[in-house]
Amino acid sequence: MGVPEKIDTENLVELHNLKEYFPVRTGAFSTVPLKAVDGVSFNIRAGETLGLVGESGCGKTTVGRTMLRLYKPTGGEFYFDGELVTDKNIHRLRKQMQMVFQDPYSSLDPRMTVEDIIGEPLDIYHLYSSKAQRHERIMELMELVGLNAEHATRYAHEFSGGQRQRIGIARALAVNPKFIVCDEPVSALDVSIQAQVINMFEDLQKKLGVAYLFIAHDLLVVHHISKRIAVMYLGKLVEIADADDLNDNPIHPYTLSLLSAIPIPDPKTARASKRIVLEGDVPSPMHMPSGCPFRTRCRYATEQCAKEMPPLTDRGNGHSVACWNR
């Protein structure tokens, strides 16, 4: 794809060809790159949600973390609000980009009270002039995510998983960000709490107009919250489309099999529909297959797939797929 000539100012987030390779030591002096993310590009508009799905280890989380420069990207550009994100301006831009973590048990410091956890971004950016103002802002945030004011002096381990995730969300919202990376925020919660937290994400988006990159492996959850969905396989984007379009009209064989794996609540329909079970295992990201990474498990694979990685091509309606044969 290369460097684009023109930056679309309507996009809050523009990711171009993001690459993140981790060196893995194979001998005393030799390393092999583990291609966790290999050329991922997408856009997110202000106030929009992009769902990012894929199986464990496909690089979803790495995409989110590299965007926030928790890892230094190996290659590619990331434009935030029309500005190229570099090591120099990341500190300023982090005020507008925040993250909600997967595990609400380890993402909150056990030594800090809820007030201090939520107040930490305020402390870092000195966003208050008095202690009273800080307290007021924290109370406001706690109310926003549905926590009681009396919870402020408690420690994180005194809360349930859902409440802890609310604390994590309040912390992310403290600096009024425009964009939040939600790294599997509900996968550690049980189903009834998942619904509460997801509804809260939606309410907050309506109220505050934040954009989300919603990373998950549960397609139903992602479909519910996202406007558009991107599907990843082994560090590469294989399909990106509007949520409904992807659901009704999946093109990439990997998306097809993912969709067929969604449990259907009605037994009659479930029996009637056929599951596409993939054969074999996910190849090691250290020894990627040549060409398309999915070809080893794909029933449509041809010789061309082994030679060349298919580019992400637009099939109309903003529905892009990376496949030679479909």
């Binding site: 973390r65 926030l68 928790l70 990341i90 500190h91 982090r94 005020k95 925040q98 993250m99 973590f101 997967q102 595990d103 380890s106 993402s107 909150l108 410091d109 056990p110 030594r111 800090m112 009270t113 930490e120 971004p121 870092i124 950016y125 009681n148 009396e150 002096t153 408690r154 420690y155 381990h157 005194e158 994590g168 912390r171 600096v175």
Partner: protein, 359 residues
């Protein structure tokens, strides 16, 4: 059930719990609030102290330590004898006052007391072979041991924690180089260094003019230097290990994603979460330092004479152990009490400040 004629019972199902939902009524807001009662929340420190105070062993240890500190502070101004002063009766040296038993008076003292009908201050722990009051010598010895223990472990705490935290947090090559330096220092024989340093320092440094440390002599100074140079490595290794473990937690990543600086992450997130280990190690470092001082004094490398320390007192008492066992018992008991109390407090603090052990 029989009274509720107006409530129709739903059709029974085989696998249901057979509960009639209509028999339940909604909880009022007031009733909901009653369920919401949680324990009074306090600050981390106050909460830890509260739990520390609930531990009987810790409280007893603290009382013992406070008692020892009070005795150390008050005794020199109450007891009319000096630690290097030979007992005198009416301005004349009392040569019969050697090796007295606890609370025993020498014949001269008894004669003096009968003559003027006054009470001479008792020798609480008897006297030593040079007719000096043993109690005041033990008190001064305890002072030295305390000073050495606390000062040395503070030095170890500060140097070891800062060094270990930086190595653990930075990781990679920085960590590799810093830890190899630690390995080198670890392999140096400490006793040899103490001996060498005390010889060199005696020649080059006139310690008697340094305030506070002056009375301790060059051996003590070299011991502090050795603690500062060598003994922090254990602490540094420990802190590094803890930091490596702690920094893998997602809350460190979260702080990074919020834009926190490395210094802030170490201070606010990593060190507080390593605190329990640092506290217990420091508390255990105090008795270790006291032991080191004692055995160095025991082999004649400790404080310079005539200043007593618990170790040199025990060493001096060794020769007369059969005839005057109390002279060994008192300094030994003082060492045991102090070391045990510090150890127990360290243990109790670890338990009290660990939020996961909170009941």
């Amino acid at each position: 059930m029989a009274a509720n004629y107006d409530i129709p019972t739903p059709k029974k199902r085989l696998l249901s719990l057979q509960i009639n939902p209509k028999l339940f009524e909604k909880a009022t807001d007031e009733e909901k609030k009653q369920q919401d009662v949680m324990a009074q929340s306090t600050t981390f420190f106050r909460d830890g102290m509260r739990r520390l105070m609930k531990n009987p062993l810790a409280v007893i240890s603290m009382i013992i330590l406070i008692f020892v500190i009070l005795v150390m502070a008050i005794a020199p101004s109450v007891v009319p004898y000096g630690y290097d002063e030979i007992i005198t009766v009416e301005g004349v040296r009392d040569k019969e006052a050697a090796n007295l038993k606890p609370f025993e008076y020498s014949p001269k003292e008894q004669a003096y007391m009968e003559k003027y009908n006054v009470q001479v201050f008792p020798h609480i722990m008897g006297t030593d072979e040079l007719c000096r009051d043993y109690f005041i010598r033990v008190v001064y010895g305890t002072r030295v041991s305390f000073f050495v223990g606390i000062f040395a472990s503070l030095m170890v705490l500060v140097i070891g924690t800062i060094y270990g935290a930086i190595a653990g947090y930075a990781g990679g090559k920085t960590d590799l180089i810093m830890m190899r330096i630690v390995d080198i220092i670890y392999s140096l024989p400490d006793i040899l260094i103490i001996i060498l340093l005390s010889v060199v320092l005696r020649e080059t440094l006139d310690v008697s003019k340094v305030p506070l440390l002056g009375g301790l002599g060059s051996n003590m100074i070299s011991m502090f230097i050795v603690f500062g140079l060598l003994y922090w490595v254990g602490m540094a290794r420990l802190v590094r290990g803890q930091v490596l473990q702690t920094k893998e937690n997602e809350y460190v990543l979260a702080a990074k994603s919020m834009g926190a600086s490395s210094g802030r992450i170490i201070r606010k997130h990593i060190l507080p979460n390593c605190l329990s280990v640092i506290i217990i190690t420091t508390a255990q470092q105090i008795p270790t330092a006291i032991f080191t001082e004692s055995y160095l004094s025991f082999i004649g490398l400790g404080v310079s004479l005539p200043r007593p320390s618990l170790g040199s007192l025990a060493n001096a008492a060794r020769s007369g152990m059969q005839s005057y066992p109390w002279k060994l018992v008192f300094p030994a008991a003082a060492i045991v009490l102090i070391v045990l109390a510090f150890n127990l407090i360290g243990d109790a603090m670890r338990d009290a400040f660990d939020p996961k052990l909170r009941k």
